[in-house]
Symmetry: C2
Subunit: 221 residues, 2 copies
């Protein structure tokens, strides 16, 4: 039995969901109101965060550690390159998105606009929303610069780095915060990853009170 | 030529320094005033952070990606277990310290007390210092709970997880923010890692305006 405790607009959960789906690991998704920090949930993960992956009796947290574990135990299809240099670049980019991009963009936009309301923490702080809207432009330009030199973000094959980036961008796209006209090659890259069967479950997500825009699930956006 | 651009009280830099030293990789340490975001520095690392490791012409950032790269390219002595489960646990704990412990403890204490002054950002916010002082207790208890079951943090061998934890604790110890009397097994574990030759360079660090307490470099603390 494999279960993922998750939240729909968590980029960390989405990265794990994409990895599970690409590796054809069947998983039962269970939505977790992790901010309520229920006893049962804290027992599973003392860090009090999602995602938490349960495989039989093994309970795992920390999205990057989970993805690396899945890569090592279910090697096909490979989502990491074979060389140490290639793997370094994947890990660097995963950290870039899960750390820098997350604090500069995702937290300022998705957290402010959606999570705060769901958690009952009030209205978005406009200063943060402005900062996020400004910073995403630089990040889209950085993605574009990478894609000028490579077919996928970390090299010529699709890797965890693409999932990390697409996980964040898909959350932002759910609230119409990505300007897809800014960089044509970023849009092309996202269209490619969005059309994969592994992405379907993300495109079907619905957050009560926040209906996604029409283009969110549209493969021809 | 191997160079590490670093800051003395950065736990991320210290984790990389310990890894380099354990693997007997000679490195030239260059202190970087990364918060000034000089052009030259940003060219090396667009994320604008330390550590940045330069090996010949290869420039690397993100401490965990660097440590995994060193582990793969210089396998001896091994700092990761052989099993996927063991490696998962190391990565989970590295993320625990570099993410959760960092935001709850290190940022609230080291950043508030030292970095802000060095960066010219004013006085410590007492609310944050209080929060950090309260949270470190829970983390020391968690370390103690782990060490009740294991010789080292992630299992019976020393790994990157020990370096991640010791990197944070050593920065906090530099400003006397660790109560070593709280958990005897945590003190024993720290004494063991502190006495390794790889730790010497950390114990010799001096931050102008912040002399370390006498016990900081004392192996019998």
């Amino acid at each position: 039995m494999t279960r993922l405790y998750h939240a729909p607009l968590s980029p960390f959960c989405r990265k794990v969901r994409l990895t599970l789906a690409e590796k054809k690991i069947e998983v039962e998704l269970i939505e977790e109101r992790y901010w309520e920090q229920g006893q049962e949930f804290l027992r599973r993960n003392p860090a009090g965060k999602v995602p938490v992956l349960r495989i039989d009796t093994k309970v795992m947290s920390e999205s990057q550690a989970i993805c690396e574990y899945l890569e090592e135990t279910v090697p096909n299809p490979p989502l990491m390159p074979r060389t140490a240099e290639g793997r370094y670049e994947v890990r660097r980019l995963c950290a870039w998105f899960d750390d820098k991009f997350h604090s500069e963009v995702t937290a300022n936009l998705v957290y402010e606009r959606v999570n705060k309301k769901i958690m009952g923490l009030g209205y978005p702080e406009s200063k943060n929303v402005k900062a996020g809207s400004a910073k995403i432009k630089y990040h889209l330009d950085y993605l574009s610069w990478l894609l000028d030199q490579r077919r996928w973000l970390a090299g010529n094959d699709m890797t965890l780095a693409d999932f990390a980036a697409a996980a964040h961008l898909s959350c932002l796209d759910y609230i119409s915060d990505v300007d897809w006209n800014r960089q044509a090659n970023v849009k092309d890259w996202y269209a490619k990853i969005k059309s994969r069967p592994s992405f379907r479950s993300l495109l079907a997500d619905q957050v009560p009170g926040f209906p996604p825009p029409a283009h969110y699930a549209d493969l021809d956006f």
